[in-house]
Symmetry: C2
Subunit: 300 residues, 2 copies
Amino acid sequence: FSLNLLCVSQRGLGKSTLINTLFNRNLDDGSKNKVEQKLEGLKIEGSSETEASRDDEEAQTAQESENVRSSVKIKTLSTTIEENGVSLKLSVVDTPGFGDAIDNSDSWRPIVDEVNYRFDQYLDAENKINRSSEDDNRIHACLYFIEPTAHYLKPLDLGFCKQIHEKCNLIPVIAKSDILTEEEIAVFKRRIRKQLEDENVVLFEPPQYALDDQETIHASKSLYEKIPFAVVGSTDKVENSKGSLVRGRSYPWGIIEVDNASHCDFVYLRDLLISQYLEELRERTNSVLYEKYRSEKLTK
Amino acid sequence: FSLNLLCVSQRGLGKSTLINTLFNRNLDDGSKNKVEQKLEGLKIEGSSETEASRDDEEAQTAQESENVRSSVKIKTLSTTIEENGVSLKLSVVDTPGFGDAIDNSDSWRPIVDEVNYRFDQYLDAENKINRSSEDDNRIHACLYFIEPTAHYLKPLDLGFCKQIHEKCNLIPVIAKSDILTEEEIAVFKRRIRKQLEDENVVLFEPPQYALDDQETIHASKSLYEKIPFAVVGSTDKVENSKGSLVRGRSYPWGIIEVDNASHCDFVYLRDLLISQYLEELRERTNSVLYEKYRSEKLTK
Ligand SMILES: Nc1nc2c(ncn2[C@@H]2O[C@H](COP(=O)(O)OP(=O)(O)O)[C@@H](O)[C@H]2O)c(=O)[nH]1
Ligand SMILES: Nc1nc2c(ncn2[C@@H]2O[C@H](COP(=O)(O)OP(=O)(O)O)[C@@H](O)[C@H]2O)c(=O)[nH]1
């Protein structure tokens, strides 16, 4: 089983932390203090490519501080994880540089090129005689991180979503949603959904099956209605008001619990991405998104 | 007395709310529900220019969503407020559009032009025979809003600070700092100060006087060390754990109190800007920043 997850976000929206929270990885290798570690970019334990060390990070950021023009890099980190006793080959395709420069024109382009490249790889493999069916590098889902401004999607957000939604299963999330009150989240979600609808952007929708019972239909419908998921990420354990050790963030005024559905939508994102609809994501990639790409390519 | 405050921020960093919190204004005119009202951009009660109504806001934002290129507007809102029994003419110079487009190249330029224009106005007035000394439109302070990423200042931030610090008293603030833990704030502040130092950016420093006692010297030093102030704004009253009605934001996991110094730096910003160093801000504008501009202009 493989899951190829494209993650697109401006720097500092908690992307690395969220990935680690989703896949239960902890960055703590014991050698550095936790706060600095979290700030080292996407780093999955045992991954086949690691980010620079902290000194490099500072040098790199000093370099980035000079950047006027957009320069988006594509970085793939792979690891194998155990989910429900099944071995899952997880690849996270990261896009550092997206939205971080002063001029971000066309910052979507290298990302769409990457998605197309992976479709092409699969197309070529399909045409070979002894193709290996386990080499599926196609992007199964794109997690797009929305800045929690509480107002509207920005031109950069809409521009990207319009470029990606017909190529990847698009799952937008509101990043660091602990910055928003429940009221603000509700208003923000309504506006985002309306903006996306007005631009005819299609979001991944958990499919319903003929044999589903009412409860399942209701669950998948309500999951879809929660998108964009208002997420919070944390691999730190903190003690909550009941005295249990939970994943969360500790503030002087309270503790937000990542796995608490009344605090944020993290559990719903995890359900959609991993525990309930992983197969559907791969299926739609293969039979809808890839098919569209393939037929367009062959009719050119 | 006048205070001309330039506020520079990307959309959605709580600028309108912070201004209203600083000057004790409430947007509630009773005719609209509070959440939507806060979202109507900078609007000071009784101000001489008001932002568009909510429908216009949606139309304007739809327009903004098309914006690829930076288009920064300069909007001045003036009002008279009572502070400590003294009448203060407050002007807030807002810069909608800054940092919001896909390409934000040179978005600092219209703002620096505005600061220069006001210096020129004063220069011309100085040369008149019957000049009125109360028409001081020069910018006394620039509040720059930093996105609370917890990483580093972005190219846009550094670029702007470098362009403005020799023309205005620069006071950077970390916006919506309730998104950061105390640890993250400490690390973030250190990095920001180092980056600004490396770029030789001068921040407004509360002056110390020969006759100051040790306590005053210590207070002004520690105020300076807190910059960039980690601020939170709110004009809503919420009930805190002690049962008092305080200004704050209510989350499922707790209540953050704006005027509580152990929750955020709002009271320190208010001290610096209004209650303690207002005169120093105007003084430095006149004798240091304006003088520099004037002598450069006259020697050209
Ligand atoms: N408030 C809040 N902060 C977060 C959240 N997730 C991560 N952070 C913090 O934001 C900072 C940047 O996180 P990181 O995952 O490195 O962001 P990235 O640059 O997008 O990869 C770190 O200090 C994190 O602890 C979240 O859900 N809410
Ligand atoms: N978490 C947090 N939210 C804030 C803060 N100040 C304002 N907001 C919210 O952020 C949203 C945008 O605020 P607004 O003042 O209109 O931002 P502006 O676009 O920068 O003028 C509103 O929903 C506010 O309630 C703050 O200090 N912390």
